[in-house]
Point group: C2
Chain length 459, copies 2
């Protein structure tokens, strides 16, 4: 099957297969055939798929896998992760402090994060020296803004998307206040045009072109958590650079979801969490990228011992000698269980590539979109997410007609179909290429259709 | 046995027992008798004590417990912790995202840190509302200094101990620079007097009295990591308050080691790690205390969504409504495995009290000190740590004659006696009352004596 490069090309690829097999586009048989032809199919067995009984107490098929389409919120557990976590408990139990430098599995705790840097760097399109695994997402936003938001009296503004994820807004606002500026003055929010849900890249780059001289930092998410829009990070970066603005991205919903090329795009900094598409578990350890241009730069920062040259860490001369690269931003020794969890997850990513995942993802989400669109104009919802596959990841956000969303959501759950709701009216559906199947998508659409019917007749 | 209130009272209590039993003070029999009479003895079985074979490959007693005296660096693993960690993996595997609000063990992830706050608060002598479990130690130092180091043109200095733990120095120095001050000017370090190792409280309070008007923040460790000195936090706090200085403490080596009364002392803020005496595992989640006086104060801070009123978290009105109390300082959702680990550890603390632990600790460390002192003036080392039990926790720091330390340290290790070295000449020994025995201490002293003999004859 060819890589779909537009919405219609996923539909077309699926259509062609339906035609070849002589089955209906909307048939389960097509979904099954798509799964049979999926080169990434074996990866699903690397994950623990919650069984139906977890959500539906009196189900007749208790051990059948549920339809889990919620990797945008919390990714599923890689099956190999438990062993790695327990190996760390074993090492601690057996060795105590010596686990730091004499680890039975060669994951000495003093350098355990080294084992998760290279694969993380591959996933975000960066050199290993540009990536540090540390802290949590919002903490990393702060530590990086301390270094990269350097307002001056003429250039102190931050450009961001309107309706950003709340934590990002709070983080940005508090940074602005910390420097003594008024958020109302210092924060420029770009909103979609009247009646639209999606930001136009030209509207972003246009503001940068017009007001860039006053903008210290352009700070966007990679993928908008609510709409699923994948911002054109390369174009935003280029526009920001042209006006000498620093540019940083929150990749919470982008990492492990879409291919990224942070180095090639020349992004200044970025950070992410690992509990969504990276499947490292609830509250997973965070990630940070800092462009290698800054590897030896004297940046203002909030420092800690884990960022200084380890050889002189206890020289007690009070001289902070930043490790060249992103690791200089680490402040503390990392949590070992959280790092082992991430390793368990990245071991699965190492079996494929972001490009292979993207190919499947575009087909899978395109198939979902086609099935949803085929429900017709009176389906009860519309899709907020861009129809251009290049402008989205795996998630589609469905905006329901008033009053429909909650009953539909609850009905889905009663059928062990797990998606994510944003009150008042949105359901987010995220078929992830690592563990979701075309049959998952097909089942979702069928249960959804029924749920909408039930909700409407009850209304 | 009475609580020893001075060095000599521990010796005296042990002496009396030796006399009653008609055994030598230096005999193993006395150590055994002290263990038999130890009311906290059953707690040792709550821990995984590394076996000799972990350190000595060809030992004849491979499964005999080693002598682990290194809780000052990494505490041992509570036996019940593994179950809790694996329960979280089970919950994640079974439920995916629904673990956040429908947890099989009633530890919903959205509020999982609630389960570790009350016991943490008890351990540091605070109200639950004054404690947040979050991030890591150095990160917390930064987040708290952002709020509590508020320099002005006349009052911008930070008073700290000379030779503080490197991370604390880096953190403080970088905060000072962030505000545009020169560390050489803004940091006042208090050092021991010429020829002394221990800071005199009067020297600290004296500087505060004389220079307090220029001091924005008094920032000390609770127990000095190198010397083991337990600073007189109450007196330091009182002196700082008298001059309207903000006062904060890094409790890395104090928490779970000595009783603390942060609220009663009226300390402004504090933070700690949980991997030393709190036994929560390598890189364990950090803790923070913020005096309840600030519960509803409008503080400058670096904010995140986990610090805002959860009820309005997704109201998308961009208004940060700080949760009253320390939880307003949380920026991110917490790591679940790290939080479960800490819970596994605090479950053991819940079986005793800091006062009971302190009583045993003073006897255990006093016994260690007495045995060491009895080696005489030509022992090859001297004890850096204060002899006054009120001025130390469980740790004793031994400063060896030149060239002795490394061979002694290596010999100890070959005998499965695990302590901690600080080059060039110091060994730190930390008998912890939760899991160490009097026989551990006795064995250490005997192996040490032999090791010193061997090192000397090889020299
Ligand atoms: C006194 C003190 N401060 C700070 C730290 C740094 O801890 P972390 O790496 O958890 O930030 C330590 C670690 O041992 C410490 O002992
Ligand atoms: C876009 C975005 N930013 C920030 C956060 C906050 O994450 P954390 O709690 O890990 O700091 C999230 C969490 O879902 C997010 O989706």
């Amino acid at each position: 099957m060819a890589t779909p490069t537009s919405s219609s090309s996923a539909r077309q690829a699926c259509s062609e297969l339906a035609h070849t097999l002589n089955v209906d586009f909307a048939s389960r048989r097509l979904a099954e055939a798509l799964d049979e032809r999926d080169p990434l199919k074996p990866l699903r067995s690397e994950f623990l798929i919650p069984p139906r009984k977890s959500y539906v107490p009196d189900t007749s098929n208790p051990d059948t896998p549920s339809i889990y389409l919620c990797g945008n919120s919390l990714g599923l557990q890689p099956a190999g992760l438990r062993t790695l976590v327990n190996e760390e408990l074993d090492a601690w139990g057996a060795l105590g402090v010596q686990g730091h430098f004499r680890h039975p599995h060669n994951r000495d705790w003093v350098t355990i994060d080294d084992h998760v840097v290279a694969e993380s760097a591959k996933i975000v399109g960066a050199d290993s020296s540009e990536v540090a695994i540390m802290n949590s997402l919002t903490a990393n936003l702060h530590f990086l803004m301390v270094s990269f938001y350097r307002p001056t009296s003429t250039r102190f503004k931050i450009l961001m998307e309107a309706k950003a994820f709340p934590s990002d807004f709070y983080a940005i606002e508090s940074q602005v206040r910390f420097h003594g500026y008024d958020p109302a003055d210092a924060i420029i929010e770009v909103a979609p045009r009247e009646g639209e849900h999606i930001l136009r890249t030209e509207d972003i780059t246009d503001i940068i072109a017009r007001r860039g001289d006053t903008i210290a930092l352009v700070m966007f998410s990679g993928i908008q958590y609510y709409t699923g829009q994948f911002f054109e990070l390369e174009a935003i970066t280029a526009a920001a650079k042209a006006k000498n603005c620093v540019v940083g991205f929150d990749l919470a919903h982008a990492v492990g979801n879409v291919p990224l090329s942070l180095s090639a795009w020349d992004v200044d900094f970025a950070c992410w969490c690992t509990y969504k598409y990276l499947n490292a578990g609830p509250g997973g350890i965070g990630g940070a990228y800092v462009n290698k241009r800054y590897a030896n730069a004297e940046l203002p920062r909030m420092s800690g011992w884990w960022g200084t040259d380890p050889a002189t860490k206890f020289q007690m001369d009070n001289i902070f000698r930043p490790i060249p690269g992103a690791n200089s931003f680490r402040v503390s020794n990392p949590n070992v269980l959280a790092t082992a969890s991430l390793l368990g997850s990245l071991n699965v990513f190492a079996k494929t590539s972001m490009n292979a995942l993207r190919t499947k993802s575009q087909l899978l989400t395109g198939y979902l979109e086609a099935l949803l669109l085929d429900l017709g104009p009176n389906s009860g919802f519309k899709i907020l997410t861009p129809s251009d596959p290049a402008q989205r990841g795996c998630q589609l956000s469905l905006l329901f007609d008033e009053g429909l969303m909650m009953p539909v959501f609850e009905n889905l759950e009663r059928n062990a179909v797990i998606v994510d709701e944003r009150k008042p009216d949105v359901i987010r559906v995220a078929p992830t290429p690592l563990y979701n199947t075309f049959v998952d998508v097909w089942t979702f659409v069928n249960v959804l259709t029924e749920a909408i019917g039930v909700a409407r007749s009850a209304a």
